[in-house]
Assembly symmetry: C2
């Protein structure tokens, strides 16, 4: 996704003060991953130790098998979690955070912490906005 070319013009102050244009594209790809409906929740939950498929499905309320599978695969492809299958009967598969994933998990944790801390504040704002 090549962003709209800043067609040469002024852009005097730079395209974005905080974010170099060259990084924008990649930031988007990370934000897209982060921004899908389930990734952050899965990362938040998988921290509590190696978890089995079914455990994850139980701990992430509302996720469908399809989305759990897809999300896990994506996270795995990004190197954020590991998948370990044990050749047993019945089958057992465990998912865990990689070191890389743990780094992201910390941020996710602050995000969730922030959400929890400002729960009421946001709710109040939304209510007032809706009322008006």
């Amino acid at each position: 996704m090549e962003v709209t070319g800043s067609s040469g013009g002024a852009a005097a102050v730079g395209p974005c003060a905080a974010i170099p244009a060259e990084h924008m594209a990649f930031i988007r790809t990370v934000l897209d991953r982060v921004g899908d409906k389930w990734s952050l929740l899965v990362i938040a939950v998988v921290e509590s130790g190696p978890l089995r498929y079914t455990d994850l499905q139980r701990q992430v309320p509302g996720i469908s098998q399809r989305m759990l599978t897809l999300t896990l695969r994506q996270l795995q492809e990004d190197g954020l979690i590991t998948r370990t299958a044990y050749a047993e009967v019945p089958p057992r598969v465990e998912y865990a955070l990689t070191p890389l994933g743990r780094g992201l998990h910390e941020i996710v944790t602050s995000l969730i912490g922030w959400a929890a801390d400002h729960h009421d504040e946001i709710r109040e704002h939304r209510a007032r906005a809706t009322a008006a």
Copy 2:
């Protein structure tokens, strides 16, 4: 709710070790907001001072008028940004972070920082996964 220190807590049975079920629903609503395609980017960018509509559109590459307007309205309803319209000709409207928004901005910043730091690592993982 302080989530940060929960690492290592082995047992922690229950529905979800880190996240009380009662908070899950609200976390979802915050994650949904965070997870839409543009909110985080707008928050990242609006930090650099009160910005006008057009400035935002220029600094967030690829955003359409429609999505910029929608995103701004949502953020405003959540109390994360302020909208100030000056009754002038030509019209001028400025957007800025609220204190609440600044709190989220810090997290967004770490997220973007993390993304930038592990850019190569993730890219490599993805490449290897695609190749295989």
